[in-house]
Amino acid sequence: MTTSPLARLLIIEDNEEVLRSLKKYFTKKNYDVVTASNGLDGLKVYENDQDGFDLIITDLVMPNISGVAIISLVKKKSPQTPVIAITGWGEHPEALATEAQADLVLEKPIELDRMDRFISDLLKKK
């Protein structure tokens, strides 16, 4: 028996390994997961999507369109959509992510169970 997904997530991350593991983990947790491997593709998915995303997870440092840009654009279009920023160790655009109104900034390596709890909390608050 299949249950309907808990929520629809968009994950944008240019590290394929991280993207794969996030997709695998959250799909297993019964989320409907859509992924993009860079900022431009992520933005296109977001702009062309008809069903709407309940939450967005984006890496901060990516080629072409950065996570900070994604957060700014998402928050401009739908301020109520929660966005989680993930950042690599030693990268310092966290302040910009907060300024762009990211709901949460998490540093890699990501603890998936902890992230899952944060997502549940953010979705409840929505």
Binding site: G39, K44, N64, I65, S66, A69, A95
Partner: protein
């Protein structure tokens, strides 16, 4: 000076390579965002053309587009050009002057060669980007500006940050969106399209029928050349050929000054140095350029890149590509060597 409000069409972005298609796609998606954009690429790749396209596709296209070259002016003058000054702010400031940030209000300001800006001015720029406010020289009042800032550079800013030449916080603030234009040698499939574009452009200027168009064989040769001066160099060579028609001679010259391949193990860099001319060292025949296009900095940088590439390749070959050993011999850090291998596109032989 009042900024021009005449709406001009931006020059087209020419090329069908994957990289250029991606850039056109990126421009159409980000031109209306107003987010800071960093445009990177070697000299002559067309960074300003990208900036003009962003401007023309933006909702600000009816407002001013201003440009300032941060490498062309001494620090004090650049500061006054950017932020303006009050009357009597310094010796010679006889009247009040509005800065580019004030003139470009509501429009776009392109900060060209941002990598050459001093650390002190970088701090002032960061303040404007953070707060949207600045003080003209000699004034205590903050002026508000709504200027969309585009920055362009041929520097590897990440490397400049490591050497404390560029502020990391400013880098992240400018690098919200990055458009990297690859050098022409990495997209030779664009060369015939560029030639066609310049044929059309100059045929109009030269009067139809009076332009010497290169034959297919010549175009094929032009596609093989490595174009260290990128599209600007191609344009200058074409302009010369269109006027004179001496394509054989032009192509001979291009390849005569092209750099020798990486030396074999028996050849030392010193032996090369004795007979090297500026053109063979830099790979850039500055004699074919218009005087306005000659930049000592660009030629020196090109020559430095070639020397570094040759010496590093030689040492890597000698050490069997043992990078730790090579970095010790070269007396640079291991990290710097890895960066240079990547930056100079030195490929491990199979």
């Amino acid at each position: 000076m009042s900024p021009s409000k005449i709406k001009q069409k931006a020059p087209a972005i020419i090329g069908t390579s994957q990289a250029m298609e991606r850039i056109k796609d990126l421009i159409s998606h980000v031109a209306d965002t107003g987010l800071n954009i960093l445009i990177c690429g070697e000299s002559g790749v067309g960074k300003e053309v990208v900036a003009q396209n962003l401007y023309q596709e933006s909702p600000r296209s009816s407002r001013p587009f201003l440009k300032i070259n941060c490498a062309a002016l001494p620090d004090g003058l650049l500061e006054s050009e950017l932020f303006g000054h009050e009357q009597g702010a310094f010796t010679g400031a006889e009247r009040k002057k509005r800065g580019k940030f004030e003139l470009a209000d509501g429009g776009v300001l392109l900060l060209d060669e941002i990598g050459d800006m001093s650390i002190a001015l970088q701090a002032k720029l960061l303040h404007v980007l953070q707060s949207g406010e600045f003080s003209p020289l000699g004034s205590e009042k903050e002026v508000h500006t709504d200027t969309w800032v585009l920055a362009a550079t041929n520097h590897e800013l990440e490397e400049d940050i490591r050497h404390d030449k560029f502020r990391e916080d400013l880098y992240y603030r400018l690098n919200i969106i990055k458009i990297l234009i690859p050098p022409l040698r990495e997209r030779p499939e664009d060369i015939p399209h560029l030639i066609e574009h310049f044929v059309n452009e100059y045929a109009y200027q030269f009067q139809a029928g009076r332009i010497n168009i290169p034959g297919n064989h010549m175009i094929a040769k032009l596609c093989e050349y490595h174009w260290p001066g990128n599209v600007r160099e191609l344009q200058n060579i074409l302009k010369r050929g269109f006027a004179l028609g001496n394509w054989d001679e032009i192509i001979d010259e291009l390849f005569r000054y092209a750099p020798a391949s990486i030396p074999s193990s028996g050849q030392s860099a010193g032996a090369m140095g004795r007979s090297a001319s500026v053109s063979s060292l830099s790979g850039l025949d500055y004699r074919t350029l218009n005087l306005d296009d000659i930049s000592l900095k660009d030629i020196t940088r090109a020559a430095q890149g070639r020397v570094e590439r040759e010496v590093i390749s030689f040492v890597l070959e000698k050490t069997g590509w043992n990078r730790s050993k090579a970095s010790r011999i070269l007396k640079i850090s291991y990290k710097a060597l890895l960066y240079k291998i990547k930056d100079l596109n030195i490929i491990i032989p199979h």
